[in-house]
Amino acid sequence: MAKLLEVHGLTKHFGGITAVDNLSFHLEEGEILGLMGPNGSGKTTVFNLIMRDHKQDSGEIFFEGEEISHCRTDEVVKMGIARTYQIPRPFRDMTAIENIRVSALPDEVIKLLRREFRSEMYTELGKDVGLGEYFSMYPDELTVGNLRRLEMAKAMATNPKLALLDEIFAGLTIVEIAEISELIRRKKAEGLNIIIISHDLRALAPLVDRVVVIYFGRLIAEGPFAEIVKDEKVKAAYLGVKGVA
Amino acid sequence: MSVVIHAVLIGGLYALIAAGFTMVYSVGRLLNLAYGTYIMLAGYAYWVITQQLGLPTNVGFIAAIAVGIGLSLATYRVIIRRFLHDPTAVFVSTLILAIVLQSVMVLMIGDLPRNVLPVITGTILVAGITVSKNIMVAMILSWVTIISLLVFVNRTHIGRAIRATSMDMEGALISGVNPETMGLVIWLWSGALAGVAGVFFGSFTSLTPYMWVFPLVISFAIVIIGGVGSIAGALIAAYIIGFAETATTMMIDERLRGAVAFAIMIAIIVLRPKGFFGREI
């Protein structure tokens, strides 16, 4: 199996805090990877580094064999990585369908000038995630569940090969979790690779092929879900026992 | 040597001027473009009280501080509360407010420059150089002010609450911090500092209704160079600017005052937008 994404020795400091500490992991093609760890262990920072929102202090990142460690955010997106935000960030003065449409627009001045992209072209994307009835609503009118769907739709709109989903289940009802899980499974079947950050072990369990556990920015465990939950170090980390990593 | 002495004194004056602005911008994250006019009006208040009415300087100080606090709180109540989540609207409205206040002064008092007598007259010999006592006092006051600000923000309960609010509004709210009180405290302090600065700045240059632009831009340059979010950084930046300006005005050309501050500010923005001590934005 080819390695789609590879992270080597990634390190990031913020002032006096080490958010990510010499972290290395990879994602195989065709798998869903779970990224777990207690609050504040640096998971979102890992996403931010992959998406180039922050610059790492050391380490390299490879996507499809090419090094992306020094690219810009938009370059990484164009290469095929998309992400959703832990706290949804829709464009607040645009309706749901307009939000999706903006994501799907090409980054080319001439094409944008020609005004060729009607909103109707993006309804499939919206319906696919289950936002069909909410197209003309504004973000402040949407429920958390729908905002997360909107995040997914916007991520899908950039035609990614890899999607980074940050706490996609947070704040959702059991029904919504089931629906989003179904969406994720469908996308995997269509060929999308996914890394999910989540606290929700029950939601993650049926979805992920493999799990990577991070504690204080360091990798403390890696492997299939069933093994991870039995790992002593992982249990200690979640329960707050000192001296684990 | 003379350059050094004067630079230290100017740095002190600039720090005093920027202190109030730093409070609202670094801690409250809001740009109040009318800040310069508080200084201007406080200066006028001091002048009116001490030179037109002949009252003692203490009363003048009280008047200046009162004017600063009054204007600051009024701005907070009226403008900031209306445009709380829209920084663009805040600084557009405060700019308009500044110009309105400027026009009011021009109409009421006219735009002839007025001379404010120094708070303390006379000169003193420092390391063989003659310096005005007035500026010395300003400098000492600025140190007192900034150090007490630092103590306040880092050691007191309220001060830490304010810092928390500036870093993470939601987290602070959950912890039981009352944003209303925070806002009031910040703006009150800012106004008081503007009042004090007004008295000294007025005696440093002459009073005109247009004198609000310079303190505003200096304050802003100081915040940028020192780094947003850092009060100590602002202090250091004030001295950097003080040195740079004194060096150029005394050794190259008098008219370049102000230009140096801008040049440094632009350089910092281009090379190191965080400033020297700023937090990652």
């Binding site: 998406m51 929102d53 955010t73 938009d74 997106v77 164009k78 992400r83 935000y85 960030r89 829709p90 464009f91 607040r92 003065d93 307009e98 903006v102 994501s103 627009l105 980054d107 001045v109 944008l112 000038l113 020609r114 005004r115 950039t158 | 911008y25 740009l31 209306r82 920084p87 663009t88 609207a89 600084f91 557009v92 409205s93 700019l95 308009i96 407010l97 110009i99 309105v100 400027q102 026009s103 009011v104 021009v106 109409l107 247009y210 632009v213 831009v217 802003f220 340059a221 050309d253 008219r255 370049l256 102000g258 230009a259 801008f262 500010m265 632009i266 923005i269 281009v270 937008p273 934005i281």
Partner: protein, 316 residues
């Protein structure tokens, strides 16, 4: 799209007939209104759309104006040559100083541009006053047109061409992206957009338009002075025109410019001096508080309210 073009045609047709029945005094201040409209639109395409509020447009206008004035007056350049170079100078200075400031966000950018404007003001007075004319400025410049009516048509034509051009660009998805930059620039990058590209585009449009206005205005008045062009008055007028008229719309600034200049004229006999700024400031604050989207925003609100009412009547 076609409907809007119709409105534009009606507008220009009406405006063209004005010289037939308006005295030249009024025409002259309409010329000024057209220039303010040009500058307010240039402000809007950058600041109204991307949210990078600029307080330094007089910097661009003034550099362009002074460049053409100096070239024409000191070095005897032919008129159209110096104007073209003036525009280049304005855009060039903008790229060198204004544009790098776009790396930083909102308030930083605004105050840096304000500082640039103030800096230009001081430098023009202090450096080589023999060339720049110091505080008095330069007079006796060649005129591009003379007479009230030709000036009116010239300014109207330029304003209209610029309006159509900017309107076309901002109504396209370029405008959508610019607005998205205002809403959340980082999220937009995550959607795969190189936001620098669009900021550059908006800036270039803004700088070119402002500079064109600057050179034409200089050669309409025949003079240029530091206070007139780098003064807070000029900044204030442009800002208020764009804000009262309605930012983020291109049309709003035109409305605002005409409104504010008409107000200037009407109030001149009663409030000759500084009081006018007090009045404008108060009105600007008032309108802004009530409807930050300005007159244009009020007009579109009325329009949608009216359409909503008709729709309800139709469907019961």
């Amino acid at each position: 799209m076609i409907k809007s073009l119709l409105w534009w045609l009606i507008f220009i047709a009406v405006m063209c007939t004005l010289p037939l029945f308006l005295p030249s005094g009024i025409l002259r201040f309409l010329v000024f209104a057209n220039f303010v409209a040009i500058w307010a639109m240039s402000w809007d395409v950058l600041s109204g759309y991307t949210g990078y509020t600029s307080f330094g447009h007089p910097f661009l206008i003034g550099i362009a104006g002074y460049a053409t004035a100096i070239l024409a007056h000191e070095f005897g350049f032919p008129l159209y040559g110096s104007m073209a170079l003036g525009v280049l100078a304005g855009v060039g200075a903008g790229m060198a100083f204004f544009f790098p400031a776009l790396r930083v966000r909102g308030p930083y950018f605004a105050l840096v541009t304000l500082a640039l404007m103030d800096l230009a003001h001081r430098l023009v007075i202090a450096i080589r006053p023999d060339v720049t004319g110091g505080t008095r400025g330069i007079t006796g410049l060649p005129l591009v047109v003379s007479g009230a009516t030709p000036s009116f048509y010239m300014s109207l034509g330029v304003m209209f061409a610029i309006a159509i051009g900017l309107w076309f660009v901002t109504r396209s998805d370029i405008g959508t992206i610019l607005r998205a930059i205002h809403m959340d620039e980082d999220a937009l990058k995550t959607e795969g957009f190189s936001t620098l590209k669009y900021k550059l585009l908006a800036f270039l449009l803004s700088a070119v338009v402002a500079s064109i206005g600057g050179v034409l205005y200089t050669h309409y008045l025949g003079t240029i002075s530091p206070e007139g062009i780098f003064g807070i008055d000029m900044l204030f007028m442009i800002l208020i025109a764009a804000l009262i008229g309605g930012q983020n719309s291109i049309i709003g600034p035109i409305i605002g410019a005409y409104f504010i200049i008409s107000l200037l004229q009407v109030s001149r006999p009663f409030l000759p001096g500084e009081e006018r700024w007090l009045l404008y400031g108060a009105i600007a604050l008032g309108v802004y508080f009530f409807r930050p989207t300005g007159f244009y925003g009020i007009a579109t609100d009325i329009g949608s309210w009216y359409r909503e009412r008709r729709r309800r009547k139709q469907y019961g």
